[in-house]
Symmetry: C2
Subunit: 369 residues, 2 copies
C-alpha cells in the first residue's frame, strides 16, 4: 500500500488550542490556518502573486460554481484547478452541498441527492454524493469534502434528518472516491443540539476520514451555541486529524474557535468586506468611506506589514472608495486577508510558546500590538 | 540661476524617428514612451507595484478629475500626487482643458477661461489658465500642461479661434507658473488645417517651453490627416525638446507617429479595452469573451513576457470574463500596457540601431516575433 500523501503532525497543544502541520501534495499547511475563498477559481480582485506574497497556505474554491461555469470537465482537460487558476499551493473544494441548500426555493432534496436550478440560467441540475466526488476529483483539489446537508440549526427534527442523510452520504462519498492523492474530509452536522452533534461526531469519526469538518455552524445560531457545539464535537473528533470549521469567520471567531480546538477556517468575509469598503483591523472594522479618513495620512493600521499598509494612506483608499475605483477592492482585500493570516500565525506561535490564553486575551481586549 | 531639473538628450534619429532621454526630478524617461493613464490617481485595477513591474516610466493623471475629487488642496496637504498615489516615478498631469471641453452641453468657454458643471454633482466650476496651473502646481506632477482649447478639428473657423485662445492661454500659463521643479509643456492646436498648425507650432515654439505637445488630434480626423498634421508640426517644433502627442493610441498609431518624430504618448485604450474584455496583441485585438478561447490553454500571446501571459491561459481569462470577475480587468490591463510598453521599447532600440523602418514594417505586417 502506497503511503498517503497526507499526514497531520500535531506539534503542540495549549489548553485545547492546537498547532500542527498538514502535509499535502501541494505543500505543507501550518495550522491553525485561515483559507481565503476563491469561489470561481479566483480570490476576488487578487492575482495569485498577491496570494503568494500574503503567504496564503490554503485557498478554497466552490464546486457548485465551478461545476456550472466553466465546468469540471473543462478544468480537468486544462490540467486541473491548480494549473487552471495558476495556484500551485494547496486547494480545498467544498462539496457543493452548502451552495445548493442555500438556493432555498430553487432546490429539492431527497434521500439520494439534491435537484436544483442554476442561479445563472435556471437550468436543472442534480448533485448526489457520487456526483459531488466525481466533480471534485475532476477539479483536483488537495482536500475535498463529503456531500452534506446543512439544515436550519434551530430546527431539531430537520437537523436530525439532515444529519442522518449527511451520514449516509458520507459513507457513499467515501465509497465513491477513486483518487488517492486527495484527502476526503467528513462533515459533522447536528444543528445546535448537543446529543445530535455527539452522535454525528462519533459516526463521522468512525468512518476514519483523514480530516473532519464541522458544518452547519455560523448559519443562524448564537455564538454561545456555536462554542458549545465545538466543545462537544472536538471532545470526540480524533486529536490526530485536522478539524475544519466551515464558513468562519471574524477575527474574534478565529480566536474563540482556535481556543476550542479548530485547525482550519475559511470565509468570504475579508474579500466581501473589501468590496464593501470595510477594513478589518485588530481593533475592529473601519468603513473607509467615512469622511474622517479624507485627510488621514496614516495607513489603515500603523502596525500592519501588508503591501497596502506599507504603501497607501487611509486618505488615498478613501479617495479610491469614493471614486468607485476597482483598486480599492484589491487593496482592502490584501489588507483584510493579511489581517486574518497574521492573526492565525500569531496565535500559532503563541500555542507553540504555551502562551495562547495571554495572546487571546490581549487580542480580544483590543490591545494587541 | 539654478540649472533646470529637466533636460532632454536626443540620442539618435533614424529618419524622423527619435530616441532620447527626458530627465525629470522623479527619474529618467526613455523616449519614445507610452504613458498609462491614471485618471483618478490610479491606473484602473493596477497597484503601483504592477506599474513598477511593467517598468512604466511615466504615468498620467487628470487635473479635471482630481480637482473635483478629492481636490488639489487635499492632495497637496498629503504631500502631492506622488506620495498620495504611492508612485515615485515621473507623473504628467493634463490641464483639465480636454475634459472640460468634452463636457459639451455642460460648459461655456470665453476668452478668459471655461465655466463648467461637475459630472459628479452638477456643481458649477471655472477653469482659467491661471487656475489650471495653480491646481497642477498643487498636484505636483513632473510635467504639467498649458490650458488649451481643443476644437472640432474639421471646423476651420472654430479651429482658428480655439488656436488663438490656446496661444493667449499658453502665454498666461507660462506667466502663472511659480514652481521650477515642474516642466510646463505648451500645446499646438489648429485642427486639420496645415496653415493653422504651422502658425501654432511657430507660436508655441517661440514661447520656449521645455517640451511641446500636439493637441486636438485623434478626436475626429482621419489617420491621413493626423499624419499630415504631425509632419507639419514636427517640421517646426525644435528637435532638442520632447514632443508629446496627446491621447494616442493604438499600436499602429504608435508606430506611425514615432515614425513622424513623436516622443511621448498617452491613452486610456489599454485599460479601457481591458475592462471590456479585449486583449491587445501584436497581431490585433482578441475578444476574450469569445467561445473559441474556452479550452485554449495558450497564453494570450505566446511571445509575451508579461505576468499575465507567464501565468494564465486564454481559457482562464475567458472564464474570468464570463464570470464577471474583477481579476479579468487586472490581468488584461497588465497585458495591454505591457504590449504598448514592449512596442515602444522595441522601436526605441530599433531607432538606436538605425533599423526603425524594418522594425516598423515587420510590426505593421503582423509578423513581429
Amino acid at each position: 500500500m502506497t503511503p498517503s500523501p497526507f499526514s497531520f503532525d500535531l506539534l503542540a497543544q495549549d489548553g485545547k488550542a492546537r498547532a500542527g502541520i498538514l502535509h499535502t501534495p501541494h505543500g505543507d499547511i501550518p495550522t491553525p490556518i485561515f483559507a481565503p475563498v476563491g469561489t470561481q477559481a479566483t480570490v476576488k480582485s487578487l492575482t495569485q502573486r498577491h496570494l503568494e506574497e500574503l503567504d496564503a497556505k490554503l485557498v478554497l474554491a466552490n464546486t457548485y460554481h465551478l461545476y456550472l461555469r466553466p465546468g469540471e470537465d473543462l478544468i480537468a482537460e486544462l490540467g486541473g484547478l491548480h494549473q487552471f487558476m495558476s495556484w500551485n499551493g494547496p486547494i480545498l473544494t467544498d462539496s457543493g452541498g452548502f451552495q445548493v441548500f442555500s438556493l432555498s426555493d430553487m432546490r429539492k432534496i431527497d434521500e439520494d441527492g439534491a435537484t436544483f436550478k442554476s442561479h445563472i440560467d435556471g437550468s436543472l441540475h442534480r448533485f448526489t454524493p457520487e456526483k459531488s466526488i466525481e466533480i471534485q476529483e475532476k477539479l483536483g483539489a488537495d482536500i475535498i469534502m463529503a456531500f452534506d446537508e446543512c439544515a436550519d440549526p434551530n430546527d431539531r427534527s430537520y437537523s436530525e434528518s439532515a444529519m442522518q442523510r449527511t451520514h449516509h452520504w458520507a459513507e457513499r462519498c467515501k465509497a465513491a472516491q477513486t483518487r488517492k492523492d486527495q484527502a476526503l474530509f467528513g462533515i459533522v452536522q447536528g444543528g445546535v443540539f448537543p446529543e445530535l452533534r455527539e452522535t454525528s461526531a462519533k459516526f463521522i469519526t468512525a468512518l476514519d476520514f483523514p480530516g473532519n469538518a464541522i458544518g452547519g455552524l455560523s448559519v443562524g445560531e448564537t455564538k454561545a451555541e456555536m462554542h458549545a457545539m465545538l466543545e462537544v464535537v472536538n471532545g470526540i473528533l480524533p486529536a490526530d486529524k485536522p478539524r475544519y470549521l466551515m464558513g468562519v469567520g471574524t477575527p474574534n471567531d478565529l480566536v474563540e474557535c482556535i481556543r476550542r480546538g479548530v485547525d482550519i477556517f475559511d470565509c468570504v468575509l475579508p474579500t466581501r468586506l473589501a468590496r464593501h469598503s470595510a477594513a478589518m483591523t485588530e481593533t475592529g472594522r473601519m468603513n473607509m468611506m467615512n469622511a474622517q479618513y479624507a485627510r488621514d495620512e496614516r495607513p489603515i493600521s500603523e502596525t500592519c506589514t501588508c503591501y497596502t499598509c506599507q504603501h497607501y494612506s487611509r486618505a488615498y483608499i478613501r479617495h479610491l472608495v469614493q471614486a468607485k475605483e476597482m483598486l480599492s477592492g484589491t487593496l482592502l482585500s490584501i489588507h483584510n486577508i493579511h489581517t486574518l493570516l497574521h492573526l492565525v500565525r500569531h496565535l500559532r506561535q503563541a500555542i507553540l510558546d504555551g502562551q495562547f490564553d495571554e495572546a487571546a486575551r490581549r487580542y480580544l481586549s483590543g490591545f494587541e500590538s
